[in-house]
Point group: C2
């Protein structure tokens, strides 16, 4: 029940100290409240707001913290006596305050006394959002359209949360290690499973067994070309590749995010092997380039280049690589960004919009090959990013009459048809930017052909 | 993706036909919209409103149906072309309409044309709730405080949903069968697991593998006395009993609800065995009494009586059974109701409040032994109820000074102390009321001592 972390108060104090150097107004962050599923008492598993978690270190329900000049004040009500029957003994407010190193603790009704001049970030659940507006006495726009002191706060939080401290890295590594085990279980389970659902179940079992949860809805599909497939109903056929994009979130709320693609039969076909090698080369080349100062956008373009070169070598794309890239021909097969920031959120701080991923002065491109890029900043020490190139045959793209016309000369459609047993391949790892380069936090999970065939 | 049900349109038409005999105004039911977890795109798995599911038969997101005089009109927008990249090809509105047997299908923007004089049931998610108020042009109270035509509609829906048709029963049985397998897996896993979390994971794996979800947050705990424990962090010790209250919800949204309690070592202690036999006797005696016309409240009282007699026989309670029952002494150890209705919701229609469980003219008792009773109606053919007596040592009750004083003479506290290795035992099955008595839908999962020790 209590977060089992030795230096939690120190880590949180350190974050508050850094925040106090960036903002000179009080900050109130709300944790949020549980959301009901089909009736009020049947709630979804609660997940506190990530901004609250970052500074409070504990996923408390219906709580708020006030941060000012390095001080932490906690606002939470004592559990009702009647709740003991249903939920057992739960920690008292003062025990919680001590655990997280709060300077003081008050009932929630006291929160309004802190509202004057305070900034906040709006949470996702509407009832808490309405509470935020009520207590602050002003309308709050959505979290990706903040203004005034809220925007200043958001910018400060982006600065802090983009660079992970040692406490945060330990959490991310714990989550990543669990995800690695889940993927190994998934590869094993795929050999004997008859449906996608069975493989997903074997993977999520590992996550649940370690008292973690999924950081996002798992993608476990033989139709890797459906980028965010959230159904698991297809049966596994001997020639299928299975794409598994599954990541654990640990008990402190920190995420991991791994994708592997492997043959359910334990053996790639020659065509699958060719495409897999291209994606793997893009993945490896991007990771090899990671170091402080490198533009993440350049990694994305590098992935596009490796993929384009690979497809030219296979005879699927025709022409010069540079020309094909300039025309975004690679995006026919790689229609998403090469990755994103990772932290408490799997797309870290995505609630704040492109303020997070796009350096001041930069905006999203509307180019086919760049519009889905979630991160366009120079890499800095302490960032954790995913690297996740992929190669897909998406019918909605490849059968689109406009695209067919535009890229008629660039694609050898007959040659492409020979690769019909490759619907989608993605390989994704979580990478810490270090002073000297990169540390792949998910490196213990192999990516090689041999490993994906179960012989690694 | 499509519901694979042969006679879905007929089953739904039958439900509409029955509804049309109970209400003479149009009815609009909303499905609801997905709820975000930590950022907008990271949503909890969507669950449509149960009232919508009952008449629409498909858990569509952001949809509504209008029911009038037996007709079904569907309101849903076509998927955006850009959604194909992320979610693949999804069914068109007209394909959905055909699958569920809708008479017509319109975009959501047309829904306001149906609003005049229409009744509804408010959904759980606030953004859809606000849409409901906007479109109907009136304030909607919470679903358990309805008035006017909305209350008439709620009463009609309670009539329909309390008596399951053949289509509904087939769904509940499918969910129940999956839960049975999950519990068998849990009993097996407990022998080799070191934590509650591992057993929970083994059980939920079975549910996920069958493309189902949990109907509620699983309770898997060595602290059965925490009635709604939702944490899984305790390690399993050789002398522990593990209480597992886990139920699958099938792909059509229908629930099941099973509890078993078993020794993690595979062997009950003599004291655990004594208490288990009492709970099992209460469970069996209640089920044996089930037939149309029997008051559910009398089953609850019967469970209390069997438990009281058992505790008197063990020397834990002192005095005459009738006197002890009159004083609610049994509620010291059995502080909840004996069960509830089961259907699309695990506590079926609980969103509508005591309108569901309490016959007109009856209200909740404030007696210690009755206040948690969720159902106080005569049983009728077609109802599905749970029977779930339990026996617990809840510190918050047994150490409460008022209770200790009140029941000082009724309890042999020294004798009770000999049973300290029994923190909580519950045995729960799902039972259909039939013309001639009862059908235990979860009967394939044994309840005997031998089975719980793994020798059944």
């Amino acid at each position: 029940m209590y977060p089992q972390r030795a230096n939690l108060p120190e880590a949180l104090a350190n974050r508050r100290e850094k925040l106090s150097k960036l903002v000179d107004f009080p900050v109130i962050l709300w944790s949020g409240s549980p959301l009901s599923r089909n009736f009020r008492a049947n709630v979804y598993p609660f997940r506190a707001s990530s901004h609250f978690l970052y500074f409070a270190g504990w996923g408390l329900e219906n709580a708020a913290i006030c941060l000012e000049a390095g001080k932490l004040e906690l606002f939470i009500d004592a559990p009702l006596p009647s709740s003991t029957l249903w939920h057992g003994e739960t920690p008292t407010p003062s025990a919680i305050a001590e655990t997280i190193g709060a300077d003081a603790v008050y009932p929630l009704s006291e929160l309004s006394s802190k509202a004057a001049g305070a900034a906040t970030i709006p949470v996702q659940d509407i009832s808490t959002y309405q509470q935020q507006c009520d207590i602050l006495g002003r309308f709050l726009p959505p979290a990706d359209k903040l203004q005034g002191i809220d925007l200043v706060l958001a910018e400060a939080i982006v600065k802090l949360r983009s660079h992970h401290d040692a406490a945060a890295l330990a959490e991310i590594k714990q989550a990543a290690n669990c995800s690695i085990e889940a993927h190994l279980a998934g590869i094993r389970a795929s050999r004997t499973s008859t449906t996608e659902a069975e493989v997903r179940a074997a993977m999520e079992r590992v996550i649940l067994a370690q008292q973690m949860t999924c950081a996002y809805n798992s993608i476990v599909t033989t139709h890797g070309e459906i980028l965010h497939s959230d159904r698991y109903h297809h049966s596994l056929q001997p020639g299928d590749l299975l794409l598994a994009d599954v990541g654990a979130e640990n008990s402190m709320g920190w995420a991991s995010d791994i994708t592997r693609t492997f043959p359910v039969s334990g053996k790639f076909s020659p065509t699958q092997r060719e495409i897999y090698q291209i994606v793997l080369a893009a993945h490896d080349d991007c990771i090899a380039k990671i170091r402080p100062g490198v533009e993440y956008r350049d990694l994305h373009l590098l992935a596009g280049e490796v993929i384009t070169q690979g497809l030219v070598d296979l005879g699927i794309l025709k022409g010069k690589v540079a020309n094909l890239l300039a025309r975004d021909a690679h995006a026919l097969f790689f229609p998403h960004g090469v990755g994103h920031l990772l932290g408490l959120d799997v797309h870290d701080m995505e609630d704040l919009g492109d303020l997070v991923g796009y350096q001041a002065g930069r905006t999203r491109s509307d180019r086919f090959g760049l519009c889905y890029l979630r991160l366009d900043r120079p890499l800095e020490t302490g960032m954790v990013v995913t690297i996740e190139p992929g190669l897909y045959q998406v019918p909605a793209i490849l059968n689109d009459p406009d695209k067919r016309a535009k890229y008629q000369d660039a694609v050898n459609w007959e040659r492409l048809a020979q690769f019909s047993d490759v619907r989608g391949i993605r390989i994704e790892d979580d990478v810490l930017v270090t002073n000297i380069g990169a540390e792949v936090l998910t490196a213990k999970l192999p990516t090689t052909i041999e490993a994906m065939e179960g012989n690694g």
